[in-house]
Each structure stands twice: as structure tokens, then as C-alpha cells.
């Protein structure tokens, strides 16, 4: 590695800068960075646009950040809005706000409260969400525990333990005729599956629990199955 000390980049107020290697990048106010950033700490309070990719150890977003490339960080805390055009690779992701990635999302530990969107596959060891989310690819995690707000969409779900709970909010129940609180997916595969308010074409697992407000096409199970009275299941097969 270079022995020279890397400098910091601070933007306070309105400003712009080229990218590069830094120790600390702080943007307070409104800032534009014109190319890739490689830094230890990326901290944004305000509105920031990065016309390239961001690579950091620790990133924190209070406010609004737009990254036109991809974002890679050990830790990412978002208490605002982060829009990433390409991939998002982050070991530990905490979201109290809004995160959307155009490409793949990959990491270890995801805690999401708010809005989450992924344009590709989403892979993690634990995926805990109390939010409204949409994933265009496969959601793959060891432990998936979600409470859904509004209509959530995922192409496919796979993992070991999959729990889906619905959280009716007051506004949600008022809007019910228009937008159902429901998780819509093609396929769910896991060892322990416990569902509520889920609409899926196929569910496959060992021990399956189909709770209220579910509408499932086919359920295939190897162990035990519990189906709630007000759930609709097209066909259930023990295999």
C-alpha cells in the first residue's frame, strides 16, 4: 500500500469535487463528486451525488445519496435515502429509510425498516425486515423474517427459516380495497416456512405453516403442515 497519508474530502455547503482516495469523506449540504471514491469513512448529511462507485469501510447516510455506480462497504447505515444504480455489497446493512439498488445486493446481516428495493438477487445470512420491499430476483438468506407493510413483491424466496408476518397499519387498512398488505411471489422454498398474507404459486418445505390470508397454488411438504381456516390452498402434497 501507499505509505503517503491519504487526505480527507469535506464539502460543507454547496460544492463539487473529483473522486479519488481519501480517509474521510463528509458531505454536509449539497455536493457532487465526479468520479469513483475509495475511502475509509463515507458520511453524508444532505444531498450528495456520486458519478461513479463508492468503496468504503464505513458508510453513513443521513439525507439523500445517489450513487451512479455501485456501492461496496463493510457497514452501511441509512437513515435517509440511498439510491444505488448498480450493485450493493455490504456486510452489515441497517436501513431506517429508503434504499434502492438497481442490481444485486449481497451481504451478511440486513436489518431493514422502511423501503427496500433490489433490481437483482438479494443474498444475505440474515434478512430481517419490517418494511415495504420489492426484489426482482431471488431473495436468498439463512434466516428470513419479514413483517410486511403494503404489497411486497419478490420473484423467489429460498432459505432455511422463512417467516412472513403481516402488519396492518391504520392507513393500510383504510387503503385496503386499493392496496392489499400481501407478499406476492412465485416460489418459496425452505426447511421451516411460516406464512401469513402471502400469495405464492408454489411453496416447498419440510414443516410448513400456512396462516391467515394466504393464497397458495401448490404446497409440497415432507414433514408437517398446518393450514389456517381462512387460507386458500389449491393443492397440498406430501412428498
Amino acid at each position: 500500500m501507499d505509505t503517503k497519508k491519504r487526505g480527507d474530502l469535506h464539502i460543507n455547503g454547496i460544492g463539487g469535487s473529483n473522486g479519488g482516495q481519501f480517509e474521510q469523506v463528509t458531505i454536509n449540504g449539497r455536493g457532487t463528486v465526479k468520479s469513483d471514491i475509495d475511502c475509509d469513512v463515507f458520511d453524508c448529511n444532505g444531498v450528495a451525488t456520486v458519478k461513479g462507485s463508492v468503496k468504503s469501510e464505513k458508510a453513513k447516510v443521513n439525507g439523500k445519496v445517489k450513487v451512479e455506480g455501485s456501492l461496496e462497504s463493510q457497514v452501511l447505515d441509512v437513515d435517509g435515502t440511498a439510491t444505488i444504480k448498480e450493485n450493493l455489497f455490504v456486510e452489515k446493512l441497517t436501513v431506517n429509510g429508503h434504499v434502492s439498488a438497481g442490481g444485486r445486493v449481497k451481504g451478511e446481516e440486513f436489518q431493514i425498516k422502511g423501503l427496500f428495493k433490489a433490481g437483482g438477487d438479494c443474498e444475505a445470512e440474515t434478512f430481517h425486515a419490517e418494511s415495504h420491499f420489492s426484489i426482482d430476483g431471488l431473495l436468498n438468506a439463512d434466516d428470513i423474517d419479514v413483517k410486511i407493510y403494503g404489497e411486497c413483491k419478490v420473484k423467489e424466496i429460498g432459505g432455511q427459516t422463512i417467516t412472513v408476518r403481516s402488519r396492518e397499519t391504520l392507513i393500510g387498512s383504510l387503503l385496503k380495497p386499493f392496496a392489499k398488505t400481501q407478499l406476492v411471489t412465485d416460489l418459496i422454498e425452505g426447511d421451516r416456512i411460516d406464512l401469513e398474507s402471502t400469495s405464492a404459486k408454489v411453496v416447498r418445505g419440510n414443516n410448513v405453516k400456512i396462516g391467515p390470508d394466504c393464497s397458495i397454488g401448490v404446497v409440497e411438504y415432507t414433514g408437517e403442515i398446518v393450514i389456517a381456516n381462512n387460507a386458500s390452498v389449491g393443492e397440498s402434497r406430501k412428498v
Binding site: 436468498n140 439463512d142 429460498g158 432455511q160 422454498e189 404459486k201 418445505g205
Partner: protein
């Protein structure tokens, strides 16, 4: 592609692994992304795998996961290899390369007596081909040359080494991510070697 496929359900039945394990291995890249083949069937979309490859891979994972962590396993199946340097004696002692082949390799490749992974792989491939009797010494020199020249590509991608002969003239080519290849009539394909496969064999021997 004409290889036999196996559906995900059959695979789980056959190997006794769970969905959780399968997805975990996929996450850790123990099973390559392009082995997941999506096809629509009368029950909807289903995932299929190349049967022979996936069964072999799962057997390997199950066999080795007792001793190795998942991350170590992932490291082993990925084409980028940890830093490694072995002396000549070590290679001979571990039965990876025989003395004659190793001497031949070092003579042709003109490198030092310490072998890193790329060079170990080259020596190993040479050993395999020569021992099988499929190629002769001159062809062996060709093999070393082509592997040496394309070292950086081999490290990153899965390559295949093909040796052909026509009218007694032999030729050697390196294929990167190729599905199929065809030659004119009268060309004999002497040997096909998957370098990825060799890497895995070699890594299994080194660990």
C-alpha cells in the same frame, strides 16, 4: 448442451440435503451460478442442474465439510487460490508430480525450484497427460508453453486444454468458457482436460 439434467427436487431426495443447505451453498458460491438452469415445466418454473457435475460437487462438499469451514470450502472451489509456494521435494513427496516430469517441467519452463499454485497446476497437468500416455514429450513442451503464456487467464476463468493431431502433426489449444468445438474431418482429438477440474483435484491434494 446435451448433458443430463436433474431437477432440484430429485437432487434433494437423492443427496438428502435440505433447501437451507442448498441455498447456503449457493450463497457461498460453492455451486456456480450457471449450474442453476431454469426451465418451465407443466407445474411452473423449475430449477435443474447438470446432473453429473452437481452430484459430484455435493458429494465433495459433504465429504469435506467435516474438516473445513464453509469459507474454506468456498475458497477451494473458487478459481483464485491462496498464496502458496511449494518446493520440488514437497511436490514429489505429496505424490503430485513425479521426479521425471517435474525435471522436464522446470527445464522447459525455466523457473526457480519454488512452485506457486499456477506453476504447480501446470506441472500437475503435464504429469497427468504424460502419465496417461496420451501425449509425447514434444507435445508436453507445447502444453507447458501454452499454459505458461496464458497463466493470468487460467487463474480467473475455467479453461479447457485440447490436444489434437492430424496427419501426425499435433497442435494444442486452450478454450475459455466454450461450450463446444468442432474440427474438420481427419483431426483426432487426443485429449481434453478441464483445468478447473485439475485445479480442484490439486487443491484436494494440497489441503
Amino acid at each position: 448442451m446435451s448433458e443430463e439434467l436433474i431437477s432440484k427436487k430429485e437432487l434433494l431426495d437423492l443427496t438428502g440435503i435440505s433447501y437451507g443447505q442448498l441455498y447456503r451453498w449457493k450463497r457461498k458460491d460453492l455451486i456456480p451460478e450457471d449450474w442453476f438452469i431454469r426451465k418451465s415445466t407443466f407445474t411452473g418454473q423449475e430449477t435443474f442442474f447438470p446432473k453429473e457435475k452437481i452430484l459430484e460437487r455435493i458429494e465433495k462438499i459433504q465429504m469435506m465439510k467435516e474438516n473445513l469451514s464453509l469459507d474454506e470450502l468456498a475458497n477451494m472451489f473458487s478459481p483464485n487460490v491462496a498464496d502458496l509456494k511449494l518446493g520440488e521435494n514437497e511436490l514429489i513427496k505429496r505424490n503430485i508430480v513425479s521426479v521425471t516430469v517435474l525435471n522436464l517441467y522446470i527445464e522447459n519452463e525455466k523457473g526457480g525450484p519454488q512452485l506457486d499454485f499456477s506453476r504447480t497446476l501446470e506441472a500437475y497437468v503435464l504429469e497427468k497427460l504424460l502419465q496417461s500416455g496420451e501425449i509425447n514429450l514434444d507435445e508436453g513442451k507445447m502444453v507447458v508453453q501454452i499454459l505458461k503464456d496464458n497463466r493470468s487467464i487460467i487463474k480467473q476463468k475455467s479453461g479447457e486444454l485440447v490436444i489434437t493431431r492430424k496427419l501426425g502433426v499435433s497442435s494444442c489449444l486452450l478454450l475459455i468458457n466454450t461450450e463446444a468445438f468442432h474440427f474438420e474431418n481427419g483431426t483426432k482429438v487426443v485429449s481434453r482436460t478441464s483445468l478447473m477440474h485439475c485445479m480442484e483435484e490439486l487443491k484436494a491434494k494440497l489441503l
